[in-house]
C-alpha cells in the first residue's frame, strides 16, 4: 500500500501542491481521500524533490489541507476487454449504466504511444457515408481523422449520427464499432445521441464515455484519451474497424486553457496553452491503420467554431493536424438545406488515395473538381448579381448561377435517412454538370465526358 501524505501545502483551482514526498513519477495517478471518506483521483503534472503538483480530475471542491494523498506509483490506465462494447462509462471510465465493472483482459496506458510512421499503412479504403457532399467531394477513408467544423445551433450532431449509422466500406459486410466520447456536452445532447444509438441498435457495438457539461472540466482532459485507448484496443487487438466520435473538441480545449491558467503558464494565442498543438496532435494522431493489423481507427470529431471563426486557434490548429475538415455553413442551414455542408472550405486530404477506378469510379476526381470549380464560380456570380442584377450577366454566367442553386438543392440537400451510394452521388453530379455547356467542362477528360455525360449516354441508348 502506498504511503499516505497529509502534506498539502496549497490548493489552487483544480491543482494541489503536495510537499515532502518520496520521489513521485511524472504523470502518475493519485488518489485523494477527503475527510468525509470519499475519494477523488488526480494526476501528477510537475514533480520535484520539493513539491509535487497534482491536477484533480473531479475538481477540488471539498478538499482541505487535511486530505490524504496517495501516489499509486503508476500512470493512468484503462482496464480493457471486449466487454467494453455496449457499455456506458463516465468521463473517467467508471460504469454509468449500472452494469458490473469491466473484468480487464489488459490494462493500457491512456496516453498511448505514437505509431511509428514507418509502421503505418497509408489509408486508402473508401468509406461510403451515404452523404453526397462527403462521399463525392470530401471522401473519407479508413484511418483518417476528419473533423466537422461547425457552430452553435447547427445540425452537426445529426450529421455525425447519420454518418455513424450509414458508414460502411463497400463490398465488405463489415460494420464499424463506434466509440463515442462526450466532452462537456449537455445532458440533453447526450440523451439525443444515446436514444439514436438505442433506436438503431448501434449501442451493442458502441462504447460510450460521457463527460457532461456539469462534470468537472479537468476530467475532459482524460475522457478522449480513455476513448481512444478503448478504440485502439478494439482495433488492434480485436481486428475491428472503429469509428471514434469525439464531441466537442472546443470544450476539451477550454478545459486545457483552464488548466494552463491554473498552473500560471505563459499563455499563447487567445490564452490557450502554447502546447495546445502538441496536445491536440496527441489525440488526433491516434487515428490510422497499422501494417499487418486488420483493424483501424477512424476519427470523426465535432468542433464548434467559436463565433463561426475558422481562424480561431482551435479550428486553426486542428486543421493543421487533421486530414481535412467538413465545414458546416450557417447560410445553407438558414436556407433550410440539410446537411448544410459548405464544400468550398471543406477538404479531405486523403481523398485522392481513396477514390478512382479501383475504389469508387474512374471519373470521381474529375467530376469532383469540376463541381468544385463550377460551384465556386456560381457563388462568386451571386455577389455580382447583388450589385448589377441578373440581367447584366452573360448567358454563360447565368448558367453558372443556376448551377450553384441546383447544386445546393439537389447535390447538397438530402434526407436525414437518405443513404446515397457513390454511383448515385456521381450521377447526380453529372446531371447537374450537363446543364453547363460541354466546352466549359475543362476539368474533365474527354473520354469520361463521352462515357458518363448524360447527353452522350442518351445518344448511346438510342443507338
Amino acid at each position: 500500500m502506498a504511503k499516505e501524505y497529509k502534506t498539502i501545502r496549497e490548493i489552487a483551482g483544480p491543482l494541489i501542491f503536495v510537499e515532502k514526498t518520496e520521489p513521485v513519477g511524472y504523470n502518475e495517478l493519485v488518489n485523494i481521500t477527503l475527510p468525509d471518506g470519499t475519494s477523488k483521483r488526480g494526476q501528477v503534472l510537475d514533480t520535484s524533490n520539493d513539491v509535487v503538483v497534482v491536477q484533480v480530475f473531479e475538481g477540488t471542491g471539498g478538499l482541505n489541507k487535511e486530505c490524504g494523498v496517495r501516489f499509486t506509483g503508476e500512470t493512468i490506465k484503462l482496464p480493457v476487454s471486449k466487454d467494453l462494447l455496449g457499455r456506458i462509462l463516465s468521463g473517467s471510465g467508471e460504469p454509468l449504466d449500472g452494469g458490473p465493472r469491466i473484468v480487464p483482459e489488459d490494462r493500457l496506458e491512456i496516453t498511448g504511444a505514437a505509431i511509428n510512421p514507418y509502421a503505418r499503412l497509408p489509408p486508402k479504403e473508401f468509406i461510403q457515408t451515404g452523404i453526397s457532399t462527403i462521399d463525392g467531394m470530401n471522401t473519407l477513408v479508413r484511418g483518417q481523422k476528419l473533423p466537422i467544423f461547425s457552430g452553435s445551433g447547427l445540425p452537426h450532431n445529426e450529421i455525425a449520427l447519420q454518418i455513424a449509422r450509414q458508414a460502411r466500406v463497400r463490398g465488405s459486410g463489415e460494420q464499424f464499432a463506434v466509440v463515442f466520447a462526450a466532452m462537456g456536452i449537455t445532458n440533453e445532447e447526450a440523451q439525443y445521441f444515446m436514444r439514436d444509438f438505442e433506436r438503431t441498435g448501434a449501442l451493442e457495438r458502441a462504447v460510450v464515455f460521457l463527460n457532461l457539461a456539469d462534470d468537472p472540466a479537468v476530467e475532459r482532459l482524460i475522457t478522449p484519451r480513455l476513448a481512444l485507448t478503448a478504440a485502439e484496443y478494439l482495433a488492434y487487438e480485436h481486428d475491428m474497424h472503429v469509428l471514434v466520435i469525439l464531441t466537442d473538441i472546443t470544450n476539451y480545449c477550454e478545459a486545457l486553457r483552464q488548466m494552463g491558467a491554473a498552473r500560471e503558464e505563459v499563455p499563447g494565442r487567445r490564452g490557450y496553452p502554447v502546447y495546445m498543438y502538441t496536445d491536440l496532435a496527441s489525440l488526433y494522431e491516434r487515428a490510422g491503420v497499422v501494417k499487418g493489423r486488420k483493424g483501424s481507427v477512424t476519427q470523426f470529431s465535432i468542433l464548434s467554431m467559436p463565433g463561426d471563426d475558422i481562424t480561431h486557434p482551435i479550428p486553426d490548429l486542428s486543421g493543421y493536424i487533421t486530414e481535412g475538415q467538413i465545414v458546416i455553413s450557417r447560410e445553407l442551414h438558414r436556407k433550410g438545406i440539410y446537411p448544410p455542408v459548405n464544400v468550398l472550405p471543406s477538404l479531405s486530404r486523403l481523398m485522392n488515395s481513396g477514390i478512382g477506378a479501383a475504389r469508387t469510379r474512374e471519373d470521381h476526381k474529375a467530376v469532383s473538381d469540376q463541381l468544385y470549380a463550377a460551384y465556386a464560380e456560381g457563388k462568386d456570380l451571386r455577389g455580382l448579381v447583388a450589385i448589377v442584377g441578373k440581367d447584366a450577366l452573360s448567358d454563360r454566367d447565368k448558367k453558372f448561377l443556376e448551377f450553384a442553386d441546383m447544386f445546393e438543392d439537389r447535390f447538397v440537400r438530402q434526407g436525414v435517412d437518405e443513404n446515397r451510394d457513390i454511383e448515385t452521388t456521381l450521377d447526380i453530379g453529372w446531371e447537374l454538370l450537363s446543364a453547363l455547356p460541354e466546352a466549359q467542362l475543362t476539368r474533365i477528360d474527354n473520354k469520361y465526358i463521352q462515357k458518363y455525360h448524360p447527353a452522350h449516354r442518351a445518344k448511346e441508348k438510342k443507338e
Binding site: 520521489p23 511509428n116 514507418y118 503505418r120 502554447v274
Partner: protein, 578 residues
C-alpha cells in the same frame, strides 16, 4: 570530470538535473531507462535538459549520465535510402526492435554497423591531406558515389590507406602520428559544417512545375518559403518538388507532420522512379519523419539533423535540395520548450531568439566551393503554416526577411481547385535577374521576354476583374474581354498543373517554353484578328483554343502541339483580319 548526477524535477519534456557540471548542449541519458536529452540551460548546480522522449513515470532521484558530446549525427555511407526520426534513429530499426508503436529508451544507430561498403582509395601513402579532402569513394547507391572525406579540423600525411570491403566504423586510413580515419564521421547538428567559400547562386533549380520554373524560379543554393493556410496544397507542392527537382540529393524533413501523410511519403517514395535515371527516387533521398505526436524536443532537433546531412553531401560536391515541412511546427516546438523553461516570451509567445534561429537555419543553405574544391549547393525550401492564414504572424514575417523566393499558396485558389494554388500576384522571386543568362543560353533567348508577358497580363486581369465585379464582363470593351480571356488561358492552360496526372505532373523547360509560346501566339493572333475586324464571339469559339487547354496532357506533346499550331494558323487565316 564527473558524469553522473540525478533528476531534481520533471515537467513534461523538460527535466532539471542536479549534482554535476554540464556544458550547454551536452547530450544526457536521463533516468533508469536512459532517455536521450540535451542541456538547454544551466543555473547554479542545476541544469535544464530537454528530453526527446516521453517522460511519464520518471521520478526525481533517478540517475542521469552525461555523454560529454553535443547532439550529433553520424555521417557516412548508408544515409541515403534511410528513414529517420528527428534524432537520426532509423524508424525501420525502431519498428523491428519495439513494434508498431514508438516506445522509449531505445537507441538505434544512424548508420548500420553491419553493412560492408566497397571502399576505393583515391589517395596514396605519403600524400598530404587537408580537411575535406576526398580520400576515397564508395558506391552508395547505383547512381550516387559517396565521397569519403577527411573530417574538418583534421589534416596530415597518409601513413596507410586500405582498399576493399569495410564496415563504416573500420579504420580505412591512418595519418602520420597515428590519427585513424573511418568512413563514418560525427558532426554536432547545431554547428554549420565549414566550407571554402560561399558563391553566388546563378543556375535555376528546375522543378518541372510551370508556375515555379516559369514565373518564380529559385536558384540552386537559394532559399524559398511556401506559406499557406491549411488545405491550400502545400504538402503536395513540396512533395512534387522533392520528386522532380534536378538536384542529386533530396533531404525531406517532415517536422510535426501528419502520421498518415508521412506514411504516404514513406510508402510512395520507394516506389517513385527518378525521371532521369529510371532508378528508385529513394536512392538519392534521406527522409526524416517526426510526426506531430512524437516528442516535441525531437521535433525541434529534426531540422538541424536534416540540414547537417544536407551539408555533408554538399561538401562532397553535390546539389542538394532540402524541404522542411513545416518550419512553423519547428518554431512552435521552440515556443513550447521556451515556455516550459519559463523564458520571457517575445511576440505571440515565441521566444525572443526566434528570428535568430530562423536566419541561422536558412543561412546554412547556399552555393559553395567546398573544402574539397568542388562546387556544391543546398537549396532550402521551407514551408510555413501561418495560423489562420495570417501572413503577419512572427514565423512568416521573420522567414520572409531572409528568403529570396516566396510562393504564396492561396486557399481561395485551392477551393476552386486551381492547383498548384500559388497566387501569381503575391508571389515573388528575387533570382529572376541572376538567372537570365542561364535561360538565354539553355532555354531560348526569347524566354526572358516571353515569361514577362504573362505577368503583365495577369496583373492587368486583376485590375479588370475589379471592374467586372462592378459592371459584369459584357460591359467591357471587346479588346478587354479578349485580354481577360487570354489571361484565363494563361491561368488554366499554363499555370494549372495536375500533380496526379502521369504526363502533366512534370513539365520540362522545353515544354514550358513551347506551351507558353503557343498560348502567347494565340493571344497575339486573336488581338490582331480583333483589330482586323473579326467578331469576338468567333474568336472565342475557335477550336484551337480548346485544343490548347488539353495539349499539356498529351504524351506526345510536340506532335500534338504542331497539329494545334497548324489548326491555329488555319483558323485565324479563315477569320481574316490582318
Amino acid at each position: 570530470m564527473k558524469t553522473k548526477g540525478e533528476i531534481y524535477r520533471i515537467s513534461g519534456p523538460v527535466v532539471i538535473i542536479s549534482g554535476l557540471n554540464t556544458k550547454m548542449y551536452d547530450v544526457f541519458k536521463v533516468g533508469k531507462e536512459g532517455l536521450m536529452g540535451e542541456v538547454i540551460g544551466i543555473e547554479g548546480d542545476k541544469s535544464t535538459v530537454q528530453v526527446y522522449e516521453e517522460t511519464s513515470g520518471i521520478r526525481p532521484g533517478e540517475p542521469v549520465e552525461n555523454t560529454g558530446m553535443p547532439l550529433s549525427v553520424e555521417l557516412g555511407p548508408g544515409l541515403l535510402e534511410s528513414i529517420y526520426d528527428g534524432i537520426q534513429r532509423q524508424l525501420p530499426v525502431l519498428k523491428s526492435s519495439m513494434g508498431d508503436f514508438i516506445q522509449r529508451g531505445v537507441t538505434a544507430n544512424g548508420l548500420s554497423r553491419e553493412k560492408e561498403w566497397d571502399f576505393v582509395p583515391k589517395v596514396n601513402k605519403g600524400d598530404k591531406v587537408n580537411p575535406g579532402d576526398i580520400i576515397g569513394t564508395v558506391q552508395e547507391t547505383q547512381n550516387i558515389e559517396h565521397r569519403i572525406m577527411v573530417p574538418p579540423n583534421i589534416s596530415g600525411t597518409v601513413d596507410e590507406i586500405k582498399s576493399g570491403k569495410f564496415k563504416v566504423d573500420a579504420v580505412i586510413c591512418t595519418l602520420a602520428g597515428g590519427k585513424e580515419l573511418t568512413m563514418m564521421q560525427k558532426w554536432p547538428v547545431r554547428k554549420p559544417r565549414p566550407v571554402n567559400k560561399k558563391l553566388m547562386p546563378n543556375t535555376p533549380l528546375i522543378t518541372g512545375q510551370r508556375i515555379l520554373d516559369g514565373l518564380f524560379p529559385v536558384a540552386k543554393g537559394g532559399t524559398a518559403a511556401i506559406p499557406g493556410p491549411f488545405g491550400s496544397g502545400k504538402t503536395v507542392t513540396q512533395q512534387q518538388l522533392a520528386k522532380w527537382s534536378d538536384t542529386e540529393i533530396v533531404v525531406y524533413i517532415g517536422c510535426g507532420e501528419r502520421g498518415n501523410e508521412m506514411a504516404d511519403v514513406l510508402s510512395e517514395f520507394p516506389e517513385l522512379e527518378d525521371p532521369k535515371t529510371g532508378r528508385p527516387l529513394m536512392e538519392r533521398t534521406v527522409l526524416i519523419a517526426n510526426t506531430s505526436n512524437m516528442p516535441v524536443a525531437a521535433r525541434e532537433a529534426s531540422v538541424y539533423t536534416g540540414i547537417t546531412i544536407a551539408e555533408y553531401y554538399r561538401d562532397m560536391g553535390y546539389d542538394v535540395s532540402l524541404m522542411a515541412d513545416s518550419t512553423s511546427r519547428w518554431a512552435e516546438a521552440m515556443r513550447e520548450i521556451s515556455s516550459r523553461l519559463e523564458e520571457m516570451p517575445g511576440e505571440e509567445g515565441y521566444p525572443a531568439y526566434l528570428a535568430a534561429r530562423l536566419s541561422e537555419f536558412y543561412e546554412r543553405s547556399g552555393k559553395v566551393k567546398a573544402l574539397c574544391g568542388r562546387e556544391g549547393s543546398i537549396t532550402v525550401i521551407g514551408a510555413v503554416s501561418p495560423p489562420g492564414g495570417d501572413f503577419s504572424e512572427p514565423v512568416t514575417q521573420n522567414t520572409l526577411r531572409i528568403v529570396k523566393v516566396f510562393w504564396a499558396l492561396d486557399a481561395k485558389l485551392a477551393q476552386r481547385r486551381h492547383f498548384p494554388a500559388i497566387n501569381w500576384l503575391n508571389s515573388y522571386s528575387l533570382y529572376s535577374k541572376a538567372l537570365e543568362e542561364w535561360y538565354s543560353a539553355k532555354v531560348s533567348p526569347e524566354w526572358v521576354k516571353l515569361r514577362k508577358d504573362p505577368m503583365e497580363l495577369l496583373q492587368k486581369e486583376a485590375e479588370l476583374q475589379e471592374i467586372v465585379q462592378l459592371v459584369g464582363s459584357d460591359a467591357l470593351p471587346e479588346d478587354q474581354q479578349l485580354t481577360l480571356e487570354i489571361a484565363r488561358m494563361i491561368r488554366e492552360y499554363f499555370l494549372q498543373q495536375n500533380a496526379y496526372h502521369e504526363v502533366d505532373t512534370f513539365c520540362s523547360m522545353d515544354k514550358q517554353y513551347k506551351l507558353l509560346k503557343s498560348i502567347t501566339a494565340w493571344g497575339n493572333k486573336a488581338q490582331n484578328a480583333l483589330e482586323g475586324g473579326a467578331a469576338i464571339e468567333e474568336i472565342m469559339k475557335l477550336k484551337s483554343k480548346d485544343d490548347l487547354a488539353k495539349v499539356k496532357f498529351e504524351k506526345d506533346f510536340d506532335s500534338a502541339l504542331s497539329v494545334i499550331t497548324k489548326r491555329m494558323e488555319e483558323e485565324f487565316a479563315k477569320l481574316g483580319g490582318k
